[in-house]
Structure formats: C-alpha cells, structure tokens
C-alpha cells in the first residue's frame, strides 16, 4: 500500500513538472503556430541555474531562485524570439529548425560550462521533513510541487480567461488577421507569450531540480515527454496540457517502477490510442 501511495505522489509531482513544461509549449504553439523545440533546453537552463545558485549560496530560497531563473530564461527567450524567430515568420519549417539548432547550442553550452557529471540540487531545508497524512509518510517537497503546479494552472486559467491580455491572446489564437485588423498588437503578443512560456519552463526547471537534478541530456529527456503530453492533450489547449501531464506522469512513474525495461513503450501507447481516434488530441480543437 505504501508503495502505491508513494508512487502515486511521485506521479503527481512529475505530472506537475510536466505541466510547467508543456503549458508554455502549448501556449506558444497555440498562438504562434510554432513547435518550440528549445523548450526542453529552457527547462534545463533553469535547472542548472537553480543548481548553481542554490549550491553556491546556502540559505537561498528556492522560490526566489525559481523566480529569478524564470525571469532570466524569459529574457533569453524574448531575445531569441525578437532577433531570430521574428525573421522567419513566413517560414514555419525554418522556425522549427532554428529552435532545434538553438537547443543543440544550449545543451552543448551547458556541457561546456558545467561538465558531464550530474549536479544534485538540495531540497529546501524547511521542506525536508516528511509530512504524515492519514497514517502515511509523504515527502513534503513533492506535495508542495503539486500545489505549485495546480496554482500555476489556476493562474494561467485566470490570465487567459479573465484578463484583457488573455482575451487578446485568445483572439490572436482564433483569428490572427482579424485580431490585427481590430488593433490588437499580435506581434507584441508573440513576444509576451514566448517569454511567458520560456519563463514558466525555466522556473519549472529550478523546481524540478531537487527531484531530477541537473545533468546533460535532461533536455532530451524532458522534451519528448512534453511533446507526448501536448500531442495527447491537444496542441494549444491548456486544459489538455494539464490532464495530459498527469496522465503521462502516472504512466511514466508506474511504468519505470513496475517494468523498467518497457517504460518507454508503455509511454507511447496512450499517444497511439489517442492519435488513432482523435488526431487533434483529447481536448484539441480542429483548426484550419
């Protein structure tokens, strides 16, 4: 019983991390029609940032570090969007290739800067003590992480559905040209959404650090998970990314625990089933 509960919580916390990664990917894809293959690298940048900061300054708060990393990665993403992606707006294939090239550059730069060994990220002191609930023992940090993911999901929902900015983004998603015609600055929205998505991934990278630790290849491990999440949930749908993240979190965690050799095959079964019956994903809309 303890095994199932603990693995269940691990699934939830991985799902939370995946949501932090895939929500940004999904937002960017929804508005910009851009498959941002740099997203895994943004996440990894955040993790290394957190690892270095938290190990050099003991007593540094992980939440502040996550915020700082989020802002730094968002700024980097914004710069990338403004200087490179912007030039390729009429060329979606070129954009994908450029984001792929950028992900190679970032992951190799991380390897140069921080070496090939994995760098563990310390769990915050005040969250190290396990929590006891209903007679079971839970790692507190993972519980908090799930809470953060849910809070982020709610915040993104409010942003998209209840604010003026969200309304403009939704208008841009639905009909870019019409939105432009009524005076919505769509190209500025592109930058905002790209920064937001990159920032969430960067902050998520820091928060994932204590569980995953920073290592070369983290980006290549996370990106396919994010891809599978958004293909499953529906590309461009936040709710789909939320549900998809937890589905994949459960499947991956239990798959690795129960049949480690075949975890990767099990991972892609739900994707195949969904694609076969609903090519647009569980909560995706059919777009022209």
């Amino acid at each position: 019983m303890q095994f199932w509960i603990i693995q269940g919580l691990n699934s939830l916390s991985l799902g939370g991390l995946l949501f932090l990664l895939s929500s940004g990917f999904s937002l960017i894809f929804g508005l910009m029609r851009l498959a941002n293959l740099t997203h895994g690298a943004f996440f990894m940048l955040g993790t290394y940032f957190g690892a270095v900061a938290l190990r050099s300054y003991t007593g540094l708060n992980i939440w502040i570090t996550a915020l700082g990393a989020g802002i730094a990665v968002a700024a980097f993403g914004g710069l990338f969007e403004r200087t490179v992606l912007r030039r390729l707006q009429a060329n979606p294939l070129g954009q994908v290739l450029v984001t792929l090239g950028m992900s190679f550059i970032i992951s190799d730069a991380c390897l140069v800067l921080w070496g090939g060994d994995s760098i563990p990220v310390p769990t915050p002191h005040n969250l190290q003590a396990p929590t006891r609930l209903f007679g079971f023992v839970f790692p507190t940090y993972r519980l908090v992480l799930v809470g953060v993911a849910v809070a982020t999901a709610i915040a993104l929902y409010v942003l998209m559905e209840r604010t003026r900015l969200g309304a403009m983004i939704r208008a841009g998603v639905d009909d870019r040209q019409m939105a432009r015609a009524v005076g919505i600055p769509v190209s500025r929205l592109f930058t905002i959404v790209f920064c937001l998505g990159a920032g969430i991934a960067g902050a998520g990278g820091v928060l994932g650090g204590p569980i995953l630790s920073a290592y070369p290849g983290l980006d290549a491990d996370m990106l396919p998970l994010a891809l599978i999440v958004v293909i499953l949930g529906g590309i461009g749908s936040l709710f789909g990314a939320f549900i998809g993240s937890f589905i994949i979190g459960f499947i991956y965690t239990f798959g690795t625990a129960l049949v480690p050799d075949l975890a990767y095959i099990i991972l892609f079964l739900p994707m195949i089933v969904v694609i076969a019956f609903r090519p647009q994903g569980l909560f995706g809309r059919v777009t022209a």
Partner: protein, 311 residues
C-alpha cells in the same frame, strides 16, 4: 554540362581507391552511407512535404536488428539483412499510420516523439541493446565470397549500393507516382478532388523512405562494426535533415552534396574542437537564416546568372 558532370562522376568515383589513401576511402564510404540516408529523408521532406525529425529511427533500428541477429543469435548476414530490412519496413508502416494522422508540425512532433521513444529504449533496455555500451565486435558480410574488410572493397560495395539506391529513388520521383506525390505536397485537396488518395500516397512514400533508411542503416553497421544509441538520437536525425536542407530539398543531387558537407564538417571539426553539437546548431541557424533554399539551388541560380540567363 550535366552529362559531362555525370561522366566525370561515373569515371572518377570507382577509381578513388586507386588515387587516394585509406583515410579518404573510408571517409568516402561514410559519405556514401550518409548520402543514401539523406536521399531517403529527402523523399519525405523535399518531394512529399513531410518534414520528419525521426528518420534516424529507420537507420538505427535496422542497424540494431542486424547487430543483434548476427552478433548474438548467430544468423548469416544474408538472412539477417533481409530480416532487418523487413522488420524496419514493417515498423515504418506502423509509424506511418500513426504519424500521418497529422500533417505539418503535428507530423514533425509525432515523428520526433516516436524516435525519442526508440532512443530511450535503446538506452534503457540494456538487457537487449547493451545500453550505453552499445554492441561491439560485429562483422562485415562477404557477398559472393568477397571479403569487405579492406577499405577499398567496402567502398566499392557501398558505391554499388548507393548508385542503385540513387537510381531507384530517381525513378521513384520521376515516375507518375512521383508526380502525384508532388501534387499531394502542393495541393492535397485538389488531388483528393481528382480522385487520388493523398493519405495512401504519403504512406507509401513514408514506407519507401523507411526502406532506404534501413539500407543506409545496414551499411552503417557494416562499416562501423559497432552500434550505439546515439545512432537513434535526435542529433542523428537532425544531421540528415541538415544535409537535405543545406543541399537543397526537393532536388536529387542536393541531399548528396549536403550530406557530404555535413559529414566533412563533422570530421574536420572534430579534429580541432569537441563541440560538434554546438557547431551543428550554429550551422542550422546559418543555413536557415542565410541560405534557406539550400546550396545546390543557390549555386544553380548563380550559374544561370553567370551565363547571363535569368534564373
């Protein structure tokens, strides 16, 4: 002009082992393998309008099947080659059914996800694939009793296979089926209205590209006598895609030139610096931003301009 170029290639290429040392002969063999691989990817990217980021799956899986059958289960090379091609083509058929539910970016993401799953499998399923250590100590086949151990013999073998592959793919794209493929790339709805089945045309091309990917994979594993999960990685797919796009997608000669350039760059760069992935990323940025239509179409435009003809 075209004929002279073709004649020079046809005469010079077989003579290469008599003119150059082993190092260059081996390099040329690698270029030939990369060329078949890039040509097969070009069927999808250039002629079919389906940009796949998972083409390494076919190279890697064919290589792994052959390595396992000959290295571990003691199969003859002939039977092992047939089985690995058969297995890879079956997998391509299955992957095609999944990936072709989507087009455009969705297709790209699904092919990437599928190939990453295979890469993860090769790494983690160590009981079968030997994980990060790879499978070493493999042998080369000896067709008709001729040993392929020497660089020259292997080069001639690879050259024959490449010439045949080039011919077959050239016939494929210039056939009426190839025309319908280009039609589906440019105007899928019109083609459907004309009574063609775009999905079936794409799927057949997908499987055919998988077949030649598998052939490249066999040559790859024969050449290296070793196989490692990196052959299935995104880097491997991306190198081939870079070759196709740098050379000029949708042309026949382009991917060959592009694949050769990528391979030469990789070989020479790795002699000076260890940062191949970073260089690869930078070249991607450069090609897409500066030379989006590729080198071969770019040179053709230049040649037309030099002869005073409007391109």
């Amino acid at each position: 002009m075209k004929w002279i170029l073709g004649f020079i290639i046809a005469v010079l290429l077989p003579l290469l082992p008599l003119l150059a040392g082993d190092f260059y002969v081996n390099l040329a063999s690698q270029i030939l393998i990369a060329a078949i691989f890039a040509l097969s990817l070009n069927l999808l990217v250039g002629f079919g309008g389906m940009t796949s980021l998972g083409h390494a799956s076919y190279l890697g899986v064919a290589a792994y099947i052959s390595a396992l059958l000959t290295g571990r289960y003691g199969f003859e090379h002939g039977a092992a080659a047939a089985l690995s091609i058969l297995g890879t083509v079956a997998m391509a058929g299955f992957f095609g059914v999944i990936a072709l539910r989507a087009t455009g970016l969705g297709f790209l993401m699904i092919t990437l996800a599928l190939s990453q799953v295979l890469w993860g499998l090769a790494y983690r399923m160590a009981s079968v694939t030997n994980g990060d250590n790879g499978i070493a100590g493999l042998s080369r086949p000896s067709p008709f009793g001729l040993s392929l151990e020497s660089p020259a013999a292997f080069y001639w073998f690879a050259l024959i296979v490449t010439a045949f592959a080039f011919l077959m793919m050239a016939i494929f794209v210039s056939s009426s089926f190839g025309s319908s493929l280009k039609g589906v790339r440019d105007q899928p709805r019109r083609m459907a209205a004309l009574g063609f089945n775009p999905w079936m045309i794409r799927w057949i091309t997908f499987v055919y590209a998988g077949f030649w990917g598998a052939v490249a994979g066999l040559l790859y594993v024969y050449y290296n006598k070793y196989i490692h999960p990196t052959s299935l990685s995104t880097t491997s797919s991306a190198e081939a895609l870079l070759g196709v796009i740098a050379g000029g997608s949708g042309t026949l000669g382009g991917p060959v030139v592009g694949a050769a350039l990528v391979l030469l760059l990789k070989n020479y760069a790795s002699a000076f610096i260890e940062r191949w992935n970073m260089l690869l990323g930078l070249v991607f940025l450069f090609i897409v931003l500066v030379m989006p239509s590729g080198i071969v179409p770019g040179l053709r435009t230049l040649a037309h301009r030099l002869r005073g003809r409007p391109s």
